[in-house]
């Protein structure tokens, strides 16, 4: 059974990645924060008797389920509000489109990616991260989930399949498609890996 300190250390180590994962999925900072907090609360309230080794897998499963719950909730909300959205004026919709435009996307990328400590390199790094994040957001949710669990969280195929609730074959397919899509998006922007 994990102690309070072990729980604290685990959550401290995981919270930033969990937040980013939620943010990639829901694209809203406040919602991502709520999702991470929900996942943390569920872990500490319901699984406080579990050993510390089981926490990473459990937490990932809870996090993914909470994200799926959020999707379901959003779907219901969207269904209820779709008909009302047509009353928004054309001008307002146009303004929203303008706010969505990311100026960083228009900046051309350099060929070399050796980040130094100077401001230019820092800016390049920020731009590349932005492009990768945008590319991740365009992936289908299952592919993004598989990619993040497998390569970002460093889980093996079996663990990823447990968290995602699918077969190992599906995980491999999702990962392959995700990496291929991301690599081609980055290549289009002139980024060599």
């Amino acid at each position: 059974m994990a102690t309070k300190t072990e729980f604290s250390n685990f959550l401290k180590k995981t919270e930033l990645r969990a937040y980013k994962q939620a943010l990639f999925a829901v694209r809203n900072e406040q919602d991502a924060l709520d999702i991470v907090q929900d996942a943390m609360m569920k872990l500490t309230r319901k699984y406080n008797d579990k050993p510390v080794e089981e926490l990473p897998l459990l937490f990932q499963k809870i996090l993914q389920n909470t994200i799926h719950d959020h999707y379901r909730h959003q779907k219901t909300q969207l269904f209820l509000t779709t008909h009302f959205s047509s009353f928004t004026s054309y001008q307002k919709r146009n303004e929203n489109d303008l706010h969505d435009y990311d100026y960083l996307e228009a900046v051309p990328m350099p060929d070399n990616l050796d980040f130094g400590r100077n401001p230019d390199s820092a800016l390049e790094q920020t731009q590349i991260i932005n492009i990768i994040e945008k590319a991740l957001e365009t992936l289908p949710s299952r592919q993004r989930e598989a990619f993040l669990l497998r390569y970002w969280e460093g889980m093996d195929v079996n663990e990823t399949s447990i968290v995602m609730g699918c077969s190992e074959g599906s995980v491999k397919t999702h990962c392959f498609r995700a990496v291929t899509a991301l690599a081609s998006i980055l290549q289009e922007r002139g980024i060599r890996l």
Partner: protein, 115 residues
């Protein structure tokens, strides 16, 4: 390690840099969320979110129940009041009708028997 895994890990490595760019406000909120979660270790109390919902439920979520009770009582009172006034109105109407019936009774003088 095949090409796919290598590319995946390179992209993930680049993504790791994005963790350093999370702003102070967000990290503070996450820290607060972690503290709350650890305080509730093993308990079953309700959650107050650190995101947008904290604005809606800043420690005063119990007020919602009181407001609901108060509103239900007002609605019940209005229904009861409407119902009783309706009954009173009907009673008053029947009393007037009775009065008319009584006053409209033919006077004996109108129909003299000796005609």
């Amino acid at each position: 390690m095949n090409d796919e895994e290598l590319t995946g890990k390179k992209i993930a490595k680049l993504l790791n840099h994005s963790l350093n760019e999370i702003d102070q406000d967000t990290t503070e909120k996450l820290k607060a969320a972690r503290k709350t979660a650890l305080e509730k270790l093993g308990s079953s109390e309700s959650i107050i979110h650190s995101g947008k919902n904290i604005l809606e439920r800043r420690g005063f979520y119990w007020l919602k129940n009181i407001t609901l009770t108060f509103l239900s009582m007002i609605i019940l009172f209005l229904i009861w009041n409407g119902y009783t006034s309706k009954i009173n109105h009907e009673n008053a109407n029947s009393a007037i009708t009775n009065g008319y019936i009584q006053t409209d009774d033919p006077i004996e003088d109108i129909f003299p028997d000796d005609e």
